[in-house]
Amino acid sequence: MHRYPRWPIHLALIGVSFLMLIPFYWVLKTSVTGENIFAYPPSILPKSPHPFYYVDVWYYIPFARYFLNSIIVSLLTVAANVVFNAMAGYALTRDFPAKSFVLLLFLSCMMVPFQATIIPAYLITGRLGLLDSYLGLALPQFSTIVCIFVFKASFDAVPRSLIDAARIDGLSEWRIIWQIMMPLAKGAIATNVILAFIWSWNNFLWPLIVTRSADMQTLPLGLARFLSYQEDTTGALYAFCIMVLAPGIVLFLLAQNEFIRGLASGATKG
């Protein structure tokens, strides 16, 4: 079957990989050398690289503060997501009156993209007094329908007889959930953690709307803000960019199979 030569495939894929990676290289190069935007041609290899732009970032902007804000909002989102979605997913495996109505409600909510709710969502958050707060930043993402269904599918796969056996042994509902269901739903939990984290970490539109003070800004906002007020700090901007991207890339490389599976399943049902 496999008579065809392999090298053209490798050649094509190496070319594509090059195209996918060269943007990162160009930014990385700028972050260690800076760039004189009036000098042409630009150098391809970094000339006398130095790490000073990475130091500059700490002086120009409160990087630690942005980072901390992003972490707090993401942790809140992830924690609330796993708990609430698991609860709702478990409820949906049971029979109760109005179940079909609740399912229909969830499915129709899925049709409403967040971008179509920004004006009232801002007004509602204002009424709740949560503008410019961590809770206000995280609240709209506290539960995601896709992940509820991921949990439901995972709980549905637990054999009925196992639950019945546990119930006959006198386990309370809570212990059934914590000691039988949750350990069997590890895959769903991993998917939910990854999706919630990515959505929250990369979110830009909502923080742009609800934050007012510089103290509450998250990393994507800090990046966009930095872009708008710097002119001659070219190197520092790209150093900042790399500092924002690096943790995400490292995290992705460490758990790439879970990432790919999670993102694919999230999108499949989204």
């Binding site: 079957m1 094509a12 894929l13 594509v16 996918m20 990676l21 943007p23 160009w26 930014v27 935007i37 042409y40 630009p42 609330a80 609430f84 609860m87 709702a88 409820a91 949906l92 109760f96 609740v102 409600l105 969830f106 049709m111 409403v112 993209p113 967040f114 971008q115 179509a116 709710t117 920004i118 004006i119 009232p120 801002y122 509602i124 609240l139 709209p140 506290f142 539960s143 006198g170 990369n202 830009f204 539109l205 742009l208 994507p220 990046l223 966009a224 872009l227 901007l237 960019c241 924002v244 991207l245 995400g248 490389l253 790439q256 990432f259 790919i260 993102l263 694919a264 999108a267 989204g270």
Partner: protein, 307 residues
């Protein structure tokens, strides 16, 4: 033994009520979130779109005034057109991704490395991606202009993001770059689900590679291709970060999308009522397109299953 009888003797009704309470308590947090951030906003948008309102002012009934204004609003039509162009670019990315998926699915060494490299741009922060691409498109020292000038494709550097003609294609290119790996993963999963013996049988019957591709791969991949298309469409339709950071909707309104326009109307011009009306049109279009896509896919998926 001491516990079990208690369960047996407990009145059936009490157990049932307790279970119902438990179910609703479990659903409550999610339901509250969706009510607060999906259902109420939708209704509120409808109400606002028929009103004349700004913060700290009483709400007045305005009938279809907002919609009428929209009809004569050139910026709205421009934003709509740009959004449709953005959507229309999704198939281009999917075709490229299909080629990549076919290459990566061949059993060559190091295909996982290629897969990782192609996918890596997808989960990254879109704001950072936008900054990277702004820099690549830069007029003097941007890589793209440098390459184009070195190859003598152009004499003068092109101001990609300041050009009425190039700004939208530039943003679209960045979007495709970010989405490519994602499409590829979906298509790769679809390719792996095609039974290999189909190809073997076709090869024995004397079908060449081209016919095998068109007669086996493409029909069986239809559901995955369709999924890619729906997701790509939704992604383009709701895109905001990339345009906002790369061009801010400019030059002029050359890259204004519906979402960026809604954002600007609401939060820089404080025209919540008009922004709500645009949102309603945006939402109705989204539902229509998704519904049409679902109907189409229903027909296609059924056809595949029948074979």
């Amino acid at each position: 033994m001491a516990v079990a009888p208690a369960v047996t003797y407990r009145p059936q009704r009490l157990v049932r009520t307790r279970r119902a309470v438990l179910v609703w308590c479990f659903l409550a947090p999610s339901l509250i979130i969706f009510l607060l951030y999906r259902i109420i906003p939708l209704l509120w948008n409808v109400a606002l779109s028929f009103a004349d309102w700004a913060p700290l002012r009483p709400m007045r009934w305005a009938g279809f005034d907002q919609y009428e204004e929209m009809f004569y609003d050139e910026v709205f039509w421009q934003a709509l057109w740009n959004t449709l162009l953005f959507i229309a670019s999704a198939p281009l990315g999917i075709v490229i991704a299909l080629g990549l998926a076919l290459l990566v699915s061949s059993d060559i060494r190091g295909r996982n490395v290629y897969r990782t490299i192609i996918f890596i741009s997808y989960p990254l922060m879109t704001v950072a991606v936008a900054i990277i691409w702004r820099w690549l498109f830069e007029e003097r020292v941007g890589l793209i202009n440098y390459v184009a000038r070195s190859l003598h494709l152009v004499d003068q550097p092109i101001q990609f993001l300041n050009s009425f003609f190039w700004a939208l294609p530039s943003v679209i290119a960045a979007n495709i770059w970010q989405m490519l790996g994602f499409y590829m993963i979906i298509l790769l999963t679809g390719l792996q689900n095609i039974p290999p013996n189909l190809y073997e049988a076709a090869a024995i019957d004397g079908a060449d590679a081209r016919r095998r591709f068109w007669r086996i791969t493409v029909p069986l991949l239809k559901p995955s291709l369709f999924l890619c298309f729906v997701i790509g469409m939704l992604n383009s339709f709701t895109s905001f970060d990339l345009v906002y950071v790369m061009t801010g909707g400019g030059p002029g309104r050359a890259t204004e999308l519906l979402v960026t326009y809604i954002y600007k109307l609401g939060f820089s011009q404080t025209r919540f009522d008009y922004a709500a009306a645009v949102t309603i049109v945006f939402f109705v279009m989204l539902v229509t397109i998704t519904w049409m896509a679902n109907r189409l896919s229903g027909g296609n998926a059924g056809a595949v299953e029948k074979d």
